[in-house]
């Protein structure tokens, strides 16, 4: 059975000035994949996920979303980003808009849906995450966990093919991590393709089908959760895991 490839990264290098962060990365992300990306801080894992929707422009190499090279000048990046959703560490909700407007703005303005369709969809999603009573509230009246769930809903409203999570629980108070992770598990069960940069090893082990360990500018090790967590091959990964435990 051949799986549909959504994103293909080819010989991608990213450097900031003379500082090389990622070196010659090659990988493919298939439909239904749930990839956990782990690694020590500064290893380039956030930079990697940000290149996948071109928030960071790679220095060399190519990134294909389906068969379109998004690093090419002619690529319609706005169109592609509509299909590649992203959830940030700091939520990045828009404080000037209500929760409902935060969710409906992009589907309506990009021409995907009419206002009514977008609102209907938004209300369904809010219902699902249990925040329907917050539809008319402004982001600053929400707790961190609520904000992150709204941010996930906002990304989902665009009907993305893949969701990128950049340390989605790192800025949360400990008691709020659970609500966000359980929403992400639900999405995983529904078959959403996800790439998650995370420090939640429990989540990675339980939910992911692939784990990538980034270190020394490359994907140092990759495999199933069992391979990576139970039988780490490199010394770096062994050290990293022992530090976390």
């Amino acid at each position: 059975m051949t799986k549909e490839c959504i994103i293909k990264v080819e010989n991608m290098t990213k450097s900031f000035g003379t500082d090389v962060v990622l070196k010659d990365i090659n990988t493919e992300i298939y439909k239904g994949d749930i990839i956990a990306i782990i690694g020590p801080s500064g290893c380039g894992k956030s930079t990697f996920i940000r290149t996948l929707n071109l928030l960071e422009q790679p220095t060399a190499g190519a990134i294909y979303v389906h068969d379109v090279d998004i690093t090419h000048k002619k690529a319609d990046i706005n169109k592609i980003r509509q299909k590649v959703g992203m959830v940030f560490q700091h939520f990045n909700l828009f404080p000037n808009l209500t929760i409902l407007d935060n969710i409906t703005l992009a589907p309506v303005k990009t021409g995907q849906m009419s206002q009514e369709e977008a609102e209907k969809k938004a209300m369904e999603l809010l219902e699902r995450v249990g925040l329907i009573d917050k539809a008319r509230a402004y982001p600053d009246t929400l707790s961190g966990g609520q904000k992150q769930r709204i941010a996930i809903v906002r990304a989902l409203a665009m009907n993305p093919e893949i969701l990128l999570f950049d340390e989605p629980t790192s800025a949360l108070d400990p008691e709020m991590v659970g609500e966000v992770l359980s929403l992400m598990k639900d999405l995983a069960k529904d078959g959403m393709t996800m790439v998650v940069v995370t420090h939640e090893m429990g989540f990675a082990r339980e939910v992911a089908n692939r784990v990538m360990f980034f270190d020394e500018q490359i994907i140092k090790e990759e495999g199933t959760p069992e391979e990576v967590f139970d039988n780490p091959k490199s010394e770096r990964l062994q050290n990293f895991l022992s530090c976390i435990k």
Partner: protein, 501 residues
Amino acid sequence: MKKKLGLIITLLVLTLVGCGSNVGASDVHSVDDLEGKKIGVQIGTVGDTYASDYEGDEAGTVVERYSKGNDAISSLKNGKVDCVIIDEQPAKEFIKRNSDLSILDEEFTLEEYAIVIAKGNDSLEEDVNKALAELIADGTLDMIIDHYITDGEVEGLAYTSPEGLDYANGELVMATNAAFPPYEYYANNSIVGIDAEMARAIADKLNKKLVIEDMEFDSIITAVQGGKADLGVAGMTITEDRLKNINFSDPYTTSKQVIIVRNGESGAVASIKDSIYQCFIEDNRYQYLVQGLWNTILISLIAVLIGVVIGFFVAVVRATHDKTGNLKLLNALCHVYLTIIRGTPAMIQLLIIYYVIFASTNISKVAVAALAFGINSGAYVAEILRGGIMSLDQGQFEGARSLGLTHGQTMRYIILPQTFKNTLPALANEFIVLIKETAISGYIGLQDLTMAGNIIRSNTYQAFLPLITVAVVYLIIVMFLSAGVQKLEKNLKKNERHVYD
């Protein structure tokens, strides 16, 4: 706000009551006494030239140059200068209205007044000279001069335009400085006097409608040179220096310079009631203020709109360049704009726009001023907004762009609304500065609030009441604006209430 206003007004009334001191007689009895004294003159006049000969001598003579004859007289009354050298007829008018002033029995050489016409405008010069000759021949000019040079009060106009004139040849624009009675001055909200009526008679002969532009005396020649006005008629003496830059018509009257001094008599100290009557009621002078206030508000409003539009545009261009590296050329242009506008005084910009850029265009002064102040304000608004945009969390851009919104949509729906809210106090500050800055509109002869106060000041020789009134009106405008902005800020802040810590 009502309490504040009440307090201010009470303070003013108290100050008013405490005012009105007297200054002794001048220590100037003849031309020989001028050395070492403070001499007041109107800038650019023949009196200025005479006085300048004394300036910087060993005795330490100082020449104070005023833009209006009336201001020189006011300074003399207040003891700020020891004497004023000015043309004979205005001098007579001034002492008629001020019993504490006298003219010395000293006479300078006779000089000739003539009309200023741009060099090369030979056909107009020919027409004006022909018309002038006719007016002299049929006695009209003498009649006008007799009407204004009289021992009694001047009432009404001397010359009436013949009926049935069609003004087929358009307008004849006359530049003058209407603070020079009896040649030109304000009465009943229009400019009258010998020059004004003579110019109207000439314009009638040419089948043109006379339009009088009031401006600073030293701007008149520039205005005629630049084509802003066809004629300069302002009791202007023919001098060698002026002939280098401008042509004169045939002379229409003669005059001479005289010296005005304080004679030691106490000037009639007006009661508050009389002051108020003189400043606002007599001659319907309050109308200057009403018209001036209207112009100030109009200029400010249009300028704010222009400033905001320019400011938003420039800020978005600059921020887009800073964030994405695009729009290199536009960014460079905006940079030049900001450098020039922020690097030069607003007054110079106003003068350049009026006298250079729109030199030969007949465009309303309010429009010119609004444009000039708008362009000026735009630069400051742009930098305020750019600062606001750049200080927003980068995550706001990324959040919006990651959803597939374009850069433009991100700016419009996410960035600019937040920027506007965050920069509102700074923007309000800029608008307050802008409103007060319009006070320099008088430099292009525009009758704004400040100019209105100046007209009343020069007609009544009272400094206190007109100046304080104008100050209070500006204060009220600014207080209203501040209150409005505060309310807007409160409304915008509503959605910032934090429920969680």
